[in-house]
Symmetry: C3
Subunit: 353 residues, 3 copies
């Protein structure tokens, strides 16, 4: 589906992705998934339906796992240790994301006073840069981006359309923020009083470290006081909520629709599946794995693997779930025991007579 900017030989590609070429060297003009590929395309194949899909694919070149048997396939093959990694290498080498904004600050952008812009910054039409904003070299600001007062953004960042970055936010280098994300909105801090619910002013900030990627329509609230922090290299999927004063470590992966409540801490290298939740003030230890849809209500130690709600050790959870499905059987067995008990009693009773 995706065209290469110029055709490549299979042998060139094989070299780049560290593979072994099998079959004749052919020209590759594009890349597509197995099922959508046409002649001239390369496809990367892994996973359970691989063999079935390979047989019907029209791709000219297949990148496959080292040891797989490819009987009945007469295509050019490139054997690699890990086709998914090979795909990443291939795409990074041959498909650079093009940002279609011209260099410089567009005349339809709105730029307040005291704004500092690094070299080669690109700012699209209908972008808003508030007073005291500073933006590092080569950073790209798409149309419809709001950047509030005194926000600092580092170098080589990409801020996609419809992103709001509220006042005082600090963003590192090589950060990517996808459309619709809201950074630095007020934390949800309220106190119920007799005359109604009182707001606690939220005067802290959000700090986003280098190489973080933030998905579409994510919300990250500013701290009440102090900071909400997203650690270096962390990648957040779409529609995730990060509440005030949350501290997220480095290289964390958080899948879509997760919610992290106020003041929770997520350790380094944690992986969270989709729609999971973490209660407020809870610590999730480094390198823990949180299965999708888990609800974490208590601190969990480093290296945990938890699931379910309330989240418990995943292995225990699986065992318990298997037993839950056997509840109909268990009720039957207990009923049978009771029946026998009664029969026994009846016998005993008969003896008494």
């Amino acid at each position: 589906m995706a065209r290469l900017s110029k055709p490549l030989w299979a042998s060139e590609i094989s070299k780049v992705i560290g593979g072994i070429l099998e079959g004749k060297d052919v020209e590759v003009r594009g890349i597509a998934p197995l099922n959508l590929a046409q002649e001239g395309d390369i496809s990367f194949a892994w996973g359970s339906s691989l063999k079935r899909d390979m047989l019907v694919s029209k791709a000219s070149v297949l990148v496959v796992p080292e040891r797989i048997k490819c009987l009945g396939i007469s295509k050019t093959l490139i054997r690699v240790r890990d086709p998914r990694r090979a795909l990443a290498l291939f795409l990074k080498r041959f498909f650079k994301t093009e940002h279609s904004l011209p260099p410089g600050v567009h005349e339809l952008a709105f730029v307040e006073e005291d704004v500092s812009l690094g070299s080669e910054v690109r700012v699209g039409p209908f972008a808003y840069l508030g007073k005291g904003v500073s933006i590092g070299a080569r950073t790209i600001i798409y149309p419809f981006v709001f950047i509030g007062k005194d926000v600092k953004i580092g170098e080589d960042c990409v801020i996609y359309p419809m992103v709001s970055i509220r006042e005082g936010t600090e963003i590192g280098n090589r950060v990517v923020i996808h459309s619709g994300a809201v950074i630095g909105s007020d934390g949800y801090g309220f106190i119920p009083e007799e005359r109604g619910i009182e707001k606690i002013p939220q005067v802290g900030i959000v700090v986003i470290e280098d190489e973080v990627e933030i998905g579409a329509n994510v919300t990250i609230d500013r701290a009440t006081i102090g900071e909400t922090r997203i650690g270096r290299g962390t990648k957040i999927d779409n529609l995730v909520q990060i509440a005030h004063n949350v501290i997220i470590g480095e290289n964390v992966l958080i899948a879509a629709l997760c919610g992290i409540a106020g003041s929770a801490r997520i350790g380094n290298g944690v992986m969270m599946g989709g729609q999971a939740g973490v209660s407020d003030h809870v610590d999730v230890g480094d390198k823990s794995v949180v299965a999708g849809r888990s609800g974490i209500t208590k601190n969990i130690p480093p290296g945990s693997f938890v699931s379910g709600f309330p989240a418990i050790n995943h292995r225990e959870g699986l065992k318990i779930w298997a037993l839950i499905r056997r509840l109909p059987e268990l009720f039957e067995r207990v009923k049978e025991l009771e029946r026998r008990g009664r029969d026994g009693e009846t016998k005993d009773d008969s003896k008494k007579r």
Copy 2:
């Protein structure tokens, strides 16, 4: 609450919605729910609290199910087979959604080179149309819409404010996209490496077929390679996440806050309740019903009705849930059996003595 553009006779309305008029013909000036209706209003009544609500409603005309008894109600009635369908008919006939944008491209819209616009297209102020964009006849682009490079949009679409449509997206005819939706953001593709987490460039696209409706703040990611596809007639509620390479069939209904993980396939005619989730690479068979808050972790065959997490057959789930609530009783019963067992043993022991 909603005024008709001009008053209608109950008899006219009855004809349009295929009903039978009962009582005297009166003039109708507006429509409102039973509890908010005033004199001159028509109300459509169904559901469990219908009879109670009818008695207190001030509506002048009630549209009711064919066979319902309406003792003590002296209003004009229109009897129909299905009041909800009748309401849809009534609203479609007498209330056209008005889009308050003037015809043509507003002078405050930003339109790049090589843009192709069909006849009667309306583009609001502060809209951004990138290079190579093509928009079909009569499509309406509200203010604050970002349309990236080479996006194709068909005829008679409505794109509400704050929608981001990233480069290369293909959208069919009669598609409605509500505010804040993000179409074509990067898929969440990362590989953990020793030096940190590496991004897999996402070079595929999103394809949205005819008559799809996409809710507010929905996110639909572009494919890694190939396409993420939303099938004809599918309706997606607010705040839903559709990950990269997901394929959604035709006439699917997906309620709010659902998450569909990467490469999952949702068959034709599937219905998903709110806050449900589907794991990556999972198939949901045609015409399946997925209850709200289900978490689907394995393929499910066509025509399934599943619920719970992990999702199982709904009937089995109900049975198991009933037994779970009886666990306190079961523990008691087992304790009682054990007590009897011990008493028995004690007796036996006493005999031995």
Copy 3:
């Protein structure tokens, strides 16, 4: 972290927050959380890790609970009944949220005909005000806000960037709407017909009463007919979905990622934890507490405390959950009873021989 506009004496602060000063009166220049505070900062301390954190904090002044023992701490203390309330008081008194928009309507805002603006309204560049819009005194409209036809907004409101307010919406006084929220998008009303799925036009409105606060990327759909209503003083966290015709009472707290389905009613003073859901047409009684991740499928009476899915009384839920974790034990115990039963039978059998 947050600087005061001018230094304050600890004794002044103590007076404002109704505390008792202990130790020497010092000058305070800013506020920070215990762990981030520097000399010259004040910190407010409560919660479980308070004592540990106090010992290492560099803050010059600590606000602490009345009766706590502070052995080994030589800082200036301010003792108060409730440090969290004291923090709210302090922040409200000394940190006014500054909105960096100049007074008046910016020349780059787009204002349609028949717009009525109260005194001291501020409208930023790139804001869109549709025909017939009315905005009350001192209300602030940030850049990139879409306000549709005939929308009414009261006095002293703040509408942050990227908010869409669709036609006909009515908003009271002192309402705050955070970035990316969508108010008045079409309700999700569809009827499956043979030829496909038919849309029910959504012609109702959204009404938001005084002092409501709406989080980032929240979606609130217009009613099919009639209204969707958010009651006075209610505070909604980020990424919450409120469906068509929902009625939410006064002073309700709804945490992030909750979903309220069509026509549900949430009573006054209800508190909902994150990621909870309420099914359509369900009533949640006044002052009920809904634990995070609950799924409410049936009406619940006023004053309930529910959790789990399907949601049940929280106390029953805790008990049942404890028993679920003991299922492995229960299965063992039943197995043991069965074994004994069999041994008994065997004995009996042997007697028969």
